[in-house]
Structure formats: structure tokens, C-alpha cells
């Protein structure tokens, strides 16, 4: 071998070592963050204000360790059932155990962390469960452990509220698990579950659909696709539930459906609008950053659909991109499948802010 050839061989091997051989998994670049100002600092202040309203016993319940076990304790299921991860009780203190002043401080913490629309959505899901409680109470057996309603929604702070270290806020109950992980100036909303039962109810003559925009925007997007795009988007089989719902942490499925690289700018905007229904639950600053991240990976993002294509009937859909995984799944059967919805929002690379924490 000539000297030149040996140099070339060495360079090729070094280059292969730099990019990794094909059998090695790609690793994501950890984010760099600065000390928190703004949103995290406001959340820390609101968390401390909430904790200050509690007595020692309440504080011990409301503020628990943040670790790999406690962070997974959340569910779509009502109080009184065993959650997917095996726990029988949610973290935190439930609204029904709080004084009005404590509840006000707890919900102020939730409102500080979420966007205005996100907070409204969380409260509408909570109210839907109150409707369910009113409907189910008359037929409930005395002493039955399964309970619905606003009083059974929990607020928990995992870890010490901090502008530098990782901690977590949970707000949830039946059909709701808002999980916000703070890591310095960053905050992450994944994994988060929303649901609704009933999915439509009325209050003082006003119709409320907590997840109505998610449904309507997705139907609009599907019907804005051309025939070829729809052919790719619509799965040839029924999908009757979430695939990566509560309890299925740390897993990713193969993407399916139509790739958004085929979308027109208008279709891409519609897709982003659907995703924003979940991403935008979090405060505006963090949501804007996340939307930019999703947009940067939009060419590798897929939209999949299963079920009827006319709005008014229940259909399953999924958005799956490099940093986003969203599912929407009607739960009932037959014609009555639109009044009970489950959804999940995950980030395949950063659930629980694990990617950020590796920095």
C-alpha cells in the first residue's frame, strides 16, 4: 500500500469514527440552558406560595420527591383504581382536601405554568368530570372506591421548586394528567394526557367541548389533503385506543401515515395548528420554542388517520415527528363513540425533560 493510500484509509476510518458506524444509534445533542428567569421563576414563586398555605401534613403530601418512580404516577383512570404503573393513589393533595385559600393558591400555580388557553382546557376537562360525577353519583354503590369530580383532582410538586434544578408540577385526575417538568429556563409538558367524558356538555346555556378544537382542526386538515395524501394518511385498519397512552413510557412506535414533506405550506400550517392544541397548553414562551422545534422536523413528521372522514363521528388520529407524538382516540363503540375521548402528548426524545437533563 502506498503512503497516499494509507493516509486515505486512515482518514476514512477516522471519518467513520466521527459519524458513527451504521449499527450505532444516533445520540441527540444535549441542550444548553441558562439560569431561569421569566416563566420558571414565576412558577417557583407560585409553587412556594402554594406550599406556604399548607400545614406540615398537607405539605408532605403535596411536595414529594422527584424521581424515576414518582414522576410516572399519573393516569387517565379515576380515583379508586390501580393506575397503569401500579400505584393506587396519585401524587399530591386533592382539591377536595384544600381550604378555599389553598385551592386558590394551587390553581394559581397551575394557571401560572400553563397558557391561558391551556388552563381553560384543564379546567374544562375537570368540569366535564364533575358532570360525570353528578351523573354517576345516583347509581353509585355506597362505599364504592371509584370516584369522579373536581374534588378528586390533585396538585403535586415533585422535587424542590428551583430555577436551576429539575422539578415537576402535576395537575390531574380522571382524564387529565398535566405534567410540567422544569429544568432551568426550560419547561417541558411531556408526557401529558388529556381526555373528556362527556366530551360535550353545557353550562348556563353555553356548550363546552374541552377537546373540540383538537377534533375539528384534525378533521379540517384531513379534508384539506388531496386524494393521494389521504390515501397515505388513512390507515387500512381500525385503531380503537391510544397506542402509547398512560403507563407506556419510554417507548416509540414506527411512524405511519402521510409524511408532511408532501404537504403544501397551508397544509403544514394546519398540521402545526392541530399540534398546538397540545403544545400550547404550556406557557407561551415554552410553547413557542417547542412549536419551532416541531416545525424544524416537519418534513419527517407523519399524520395518520383511522375512521370516518366526516366530522361528527369519532375518528382516531396521530401526529408523529422527531420531537412530537400526539394521539387522539375516541373510546366508545358504535355511534356513541364521540362522547369519551382520550389523548396523549409525548416527546419521543424528551419525555420528563430527560434530554435536557443530560446536559
Amino acid at each position: 500500500m502506498s503512503d497516499r493510500a494509507s493516509k486515505i484509509l486512515l482518514a476514512v476510518l477516522l471519518a467513520l469514527g466521527t459519524i458513527g458506524v451504521s449499527t450505532r444509534q444516533r445520540t441527540s445533542t444535549p441542550l444548553t440552558t441558562a439560569p431561569a428567569t421569566g416563566a420558571t421563576a414565576r412558577a417557583v414563586a407560585a409553587a412556594e406560595a402554594f406550599l406556604a398555605t399548607l400545614d406540615a401534613g398537607q405539605r408532605a403530601k403535596a411536595n414529594v420527591d422527584f424521581n424515576e418512580k414518582t414522576r410516572t404516577i399519573w393516569s387517565n383512570l379515576p380515583v379508586g383504581t390501580t393506575m397503569q404503573v401500579g400505584a393506587t393513589e396519585r401524587n399530591g393533595l386533592r382539591l377536595g382536601e384544600m381550604t378555599p385559600a389553598q385551592e386558590k393558591a394551587a390553581l394559581a400555580l397551575v394557571a401560572t405554568t400553563l397558557s391561558r388557553d391551556g388552563y381553560q382546557k384543564a379546567m374544562e376537562v375537570t368540569d366535564a368530570d364533575e358532570v360525570l360525577e353528578v351523573r354517576s353519583a345516583p347509581t353509585r354503590k355506597p362505599g364504592a372506591p371509584i370516584r369522579f369530580g373536581r374534588a378528586f383532582y390533585y396538585v403535586a410538586i415533585l422535587g424542590k421548586p428551583s430555577t436551576t434544578d429539575r422539578w415537576m408540577l402535576q395537575y390531574g385526575g380522571h382524564h387529565l394528567a398535566i405534567n410540567v417538568i422544569f429544568a432551568g429556563r426550560d419547561s417541558v409538558l411531556t408526557p401529558t394526557h388529556t381526555g373528556a367524558q362527556p366530551a360535550t356538555y353545557s353550562v348556563d346555556g353555553r356548550t363546552v367541548r374541552p377537546l373540540g378544537d383538537e377534533n375539528d382542526k384534525a378533521f379540517a386538515l384531513l379534508n384539506a389533503l388531496n386524494a393521494e395524501q389521504q390515501k397515505q394518511a388513512i390507515l387500512a385498519f381500525e385503531v380503537r385506543n391510544l397506542v402509547l397512552g398512560p403507563g407506556v413510557d419510554g417507548k416509540t412506535i414506527a411512524p405511519e401515515g402521510v409524511r408532511a414533506s408532501t404537504f403544501t405550506p397551508a397544509q403544514r400550517k394546519m398540521l402545526m395548528d392541530v399540534a398546538h392544541e397540545w403544545v400550547g397548553i404550556l406557557g407561551d414562551e415554552a410553547a413557542t420554542a417547542k412549536m419551532k422545534e416541531i416545525e424544524s422536523g416537519i418534513a419527517d413528521t407523519y399524520f395518520a388517520w383511522a375512521g370516518p372522514t366526516t366530522n361528527g363521528k369519532g375518528a382516531y388520529f396521530r401526529i408523529h415527528g422527531p420531537g412530537v407524538f400526539i394521539e387522539y382516540a375516541p373510546q366508545g363503540q358504535g355511534d356513541n363513540n364521540i362522547d369519551h375521548i382520550h389523548t396523549i402528548y409525548r416527546d419521543p426524545t424528551n419525555d420528563y425533560a430527560d434530554r435536557i437533563s443530560k446536559r
Binding site: L9, G17, S22, R24, R135, I146, V243, G332
Partner: protein, 204 residues
């Protein structure tokens, strides 16, 4: 929101739950030395008693570990799993069963976890065939391929029947040998490079 307003809004409602269906959600994952399988089985409230009857053999209204394990084996016996047309024998890892009362409300899932060993062969394309024949009378199914943790294995395509009872998953498998060969090859090349430079220096 005032509870009174909500009470006023609440009307009698039909259940919006999956009542008379048995949801069976499966996730499969291909690894270099095996296939792992997760099945979550959730009976609707109206079929729960018939499922419980299959599990609670002694009728004591609880599911013992041995009854859960026995049911797990029944489920696995009704799963067809083949790799490249050859059967994969599944071994039960564990079964978790919820309290019966939760199952009767349609809220409890039985979790079956299993694994099958596979024979290592030099193939770039592999096809996994999954079919769930457990309790077909009232079941609805999900089956999905998990993204393999091994970056050298990727899902190429998934095809399923309309009910998701039957799935064929095609994988691309990159041989592992390049990563074992890489460092020795780099070492040999570096030594050769140094040797050539020294040879040239001494010749001058």
C-alpha cells in the same frame, strides 16, 4: 365553575365506554437475540365476568399469582409469532392482574409480558408475523411494532388486517460485525501509517 351549574347541565347519559368489547393491545419488538411481546388486555364492563371466569378458576373472587400465570400461558398459546416463517416460542416473563372490581368496571388491564429467543442469521431483511387468536368473539385489537433500541434494526413496513388481529412487520437489520471490525482496523491502519512514515524518514 359552580357545581350547581354543572348539576343543572347534567342529563342522563348513555355510557360512552367500551362495554362489551375486550381490548387487546400488543406491542412487539425485535432485538438481535429475541422478540419481546407486551399485551395489555382490558375487558369492557359487560364482558368482564366472562373473562374473570376464564382466570379465577377456584371462584374465590381474587386472581392468585398462579391463576394469573396460567391465564398468561393461555393467552400466549393463542398468539402466533413467526420470524421469517419460522415459529418463535414465547416464554412468559410475567403477568399482572388488576383487582376484579376494577375489571368489572371496565377499568382494569391484565398485563402479559413475554419473550421469544431467535436464531441469529445473516439476513438484511426479516419479517415478523403476529396473529392474536385469543378470545376473538368480543375482542378489539391493537398491534404495533416498537422502534428497536438497537440502531442497526429498523422497521421498514407494517401491514395489518382491518381488525389489527394479524400483522406482518418487515425489518431491516444491519450486521453487527462492522462495529467489531472498526477499532482493530483503525489500529492496524494507524500502525501502518506510522510504519510508512518511519520507513520514509530512515530512507532519507
Amino acid at each position: 365553575m359552580a357545581t350547581a351549574a354543572l348539576i343543572a347541565a347534567a342529563a342522563a347519559s348513555p355510557s360512552a365506554h367500551r362495554l362489551d368489547e375486550y381490548l387487546q393491545a400488543s406491542r412487539v419488538s425485535l432485538e438481535r437475540t429475541g422478540v419481546s411481546l407486551e399485551i395489555d388486555l382490558t375487558p369492557g364492563a359487560n364482558v368482564a365476568d366472562s373473562i374473570i371466569a376464564l382466570i379465577d378458576h377456584d371462584g374465590d373472587n381474587t386472581i392468585s399469582p398462579s391463576e394469573a400465570e396460567r391465564y398468561g400461558r393461555v393467552v400466549l398459546a393463542e398468539i402466533v409469532l413467526e420470524l421469517d416463517g419460522r415459529p418463535v416460542a414465547l416464554t412468559l416473563d410475567r403477568v399482572e392482574a388488576p383487582p376484579l372490581e376494577e375489571m368489572r368496571h371496565g377499568l382494569g388491564a391484565i398485563r402479559v409480558r413475554a419473550r421469544g429467543g431467535i436464531e441469529l442469521r445473516m439476513r438484511f431483511r426479516r419479517e415478523l408475523h403476529f396473529q392474536n387468536n385469543h378470545h376473538p368473539e368480543s375482542s378489539v385489537y391493537l398491534v404495533n411494532a416498537l422502534m428497536p433500541a438497537d440502531g442497526g434494526i429498523s422497521v421498514v413496513s407494517q401491514t395489518r388486517d382491518g381488525k389489527q388481529r394479524d400483522a406482518r412487520i418487515e425489518y431491516s437489520v444491519t450486521p453487527e460485525w462492522p462495529k467489531y471490525v472498526y477499532w482493530p482496523a483503525l489500529g492496524v491502519a494507524a500502525l501502518f501509517f506510522v510504519y510508512r512514515r518511519r520507513s520514509r524518514s530512515s530512507a532519507l
